[in-house]
Amino acid sequence: MEALLGQLVSVAFHGTAYGMILYVISVGLSVTMGLMGFANLAHGVFAMAGGYVMLSMMNAYGLPFPLALAIAFVAVALGSIVLERLLYARLYAAGELAQVLFTIGLILMSIAVARLIYGTLQQPVNLPDYMKGQFHLLGRDFPAYRVIVILFSLTLVMLLWFGVERTRWGAMLRAAVDNRAMAQSIGINTSKLFTLTFALGSGLAAIGGGMGAELIAIQPTYPFEHLVFFLIVVAIGGMGTLRGPFVAALLIGVTDTACKYWLPQFGAFFIYAATIAILLWRPAGLFGKAA
């Protein structure tokens, strides 16, 4: 009994840490799709870029973890503004097929560039000492790294929630998601708003990729390998909401960890099966508005 309880706690804990990372990476995608209806399959590229920037800063220049993470956020957010203005903006009016193909093209290019610069091996992660130990609570040990991941992600979630629900920018964003044409006609500059939101979402993905580098290894095939999971989070959670992807990411994080722990022979089978079932039950996702 005690052993089972220990397993349950452990699975819930590891699953939560994984789910948090998934959420921080995917939330930007949810907003992008909800706001502009843009099928951005290349979202994982930003997470990978964040991971590479952070690890390079730490491994090559010896910067501390938090500073390297901040640099990754800024660098990727700025880079994504350039991409958005130069390329993405041309395709908002285009069909889904064009968007899907374009973003697949971006993924392929990013994989090639990553392989050229960093090689095919996954990047080593040298965690600082305070993230290496264990954290004792209620007579159990929890790896400090994952505790920090969960706490930091929760802080981000609160900040994000505050930003969207309580600030002027958030009100404009919600208005634009609900009815873009109307928001535009009452004087909200939706195109500028979108660029900013896109940059923020990409920056968050970079934080997720960098912070989760120990959980989801940073390697060139990253954007393809984890694409399905990012998309599942958004599809199940529903687009254009903050709450939906949060629930979906936690659900997927815990389910995936539980399956890997107890039923490794099935691989990711249950995740896919559950995705199909949920999408058939609610095609717009758990919290999405019905089209």
């Binding site: 374009f102 697949i104 392929l108 994989i111 691989g267 990711a268 896919y272 995705t275 058939l280």
Partner: protein, 336 residues
């Protein structure tokens, strides 16, 4: 300029469709003439040639649903893979007769296409895309874990096909494999062409352009999509079985996401919704891959990615679209 224009108008790949003249124009025999010339003139390329022919058939099946039906899918390898595995398992455990294998593969892929199509085609957009990905991923997981049937990650080997008609052995030079693939590609092309030029094909184009309006004028949108999805799955299944028969091996990559992606790239490169895009695309993509990819794997994917971006931004119709645009410009210059 007139000569060039005349030449281009001969070469012009037609966009097809119900209103166009359905007779097969002389230029449409060109791919098959070239295929036979290659068979005679370049025997060392036959193994690569068979693979290209098989992927042309696979691309045709994708063109039917993507180009004509407007169904955006990233999971078409599910049906290709099921065809490949069912043909392989049948050949290994039951009978190694090739035509039986093709029929069984078509039926298996078709039934799976009917079931999954009936389920997923109720949705649209991103949800549909997600579902196609999820279904293919499930197939991949199953094939990966069901070691006893599929050989898992090592692939299904130990298949020895019977000779075609009891006469023509699948030789190691690929002579039989090439002609075998060519015959079924031509058959598939003929079927797809008939569909595209039929009233059914016209209604598909209508659904692609505006499903709501098609619904409003009384077309059974959902039913038509399920039917074309099933047909496309059958053709993809036959293509998969051809690959099994000609290589006598099934690898896990027939169900992989990578092949799905490559296939879409080939079709887009050739030109989507144009019938012959599915012929031109795989040919150019795979020949270029054979020449370049082995020496420069990193650069290869970079340029493929860049090509996709450029096609999406500047040349939606692919290579055949460029030919069309050039022709239109010449004709305009002639004052037509």
């Amino acid at each position: 300029m007139t000569i060039a224009a005349r030449l281009l108008s001969r070469l012009a790949p037609h966009a097809g469709g119900y209103i166009a003249d359905a007779r097969i124009r002389p230029i449409e025999y060109l791919p098959w003439v070239v295929a036979i010339i290659i068979y005679v003139a370049a025997p060392e390329y036959l193994p690569l040639g068979s693979y290209i022919l098989i992927l042309m058939l696979f691309a045709l099946s994708l063109d039917l649903i993507l180009g004509y039906g407007g169904i955006i899918t990233l999971g078409h390898t599910a049906y290709f893979g099921i065809g490949a595995y069912s043909a392989g398992i049948l050949a290994k455990f039951v009978t190694a007769e090739p035509f039986t294998g093709l029929v069984v593969a078509a039926v298996c892929a078709g039934v799976f296409g009917l079931i999954t199509g009936a389920v997923i085609l109720r949705t649209t957009g991103l949800t549909l895309l997600m579902l196609t990905l999820a279904i293919t991923s499930i197939c991949y997981e199953v094939a990966n874990k069901a070691n006893d049937w599929t050989g898992g990650a090592d692939g299904l080997s130990g298949i020895t096909m019977n000779p075609v008609f009891g006469q023509f052995r699948f030789d190691m030079f690929g002579n039989t494999a090439y002609l075998y693939s060519l015959v079924f590609l031509i058959l598939g092309w003929w079927i797809v062409r008939r569909i595209v030029y039929s009233p059914f094909g016209a209604s598909l184009a209508g659904i692609r352009e505006n499903p709501v309006r098609m619904h409003a004028i009384g077309a059974p949108v959902y039913g038509r999509l399920v039917v074309v999805y099933t047909i496309s799955a059958m053709i993809a299944g036959v293509a998969g079985a051809l690959l099994t028969h000609t290589t006598q091996f099934v690898g896990l990559k027939v169900l992989g996401f990578e092949l799905s992606g490559d296939l879409v790239v080939m079709l887009i490169l050739g030109g989507v919704g144009r019938l012959y895009g599915a012929i031109v695309g795989p040919l150019i993509y795979l020949v270029a891959q054979d020449l370049l990819a082995k020496q420069y794997p990193e650069y290869w994917y970079f340029w493929i990615g860049a090509l996709l971006v450029v096609i999406v931004l500047f040349a939606r119709g692919g290579l055949l679209g460029i030919v069309d645009a050039l022709r239109a410009r010449f004709e305009k210059a002639r004052g037509r």
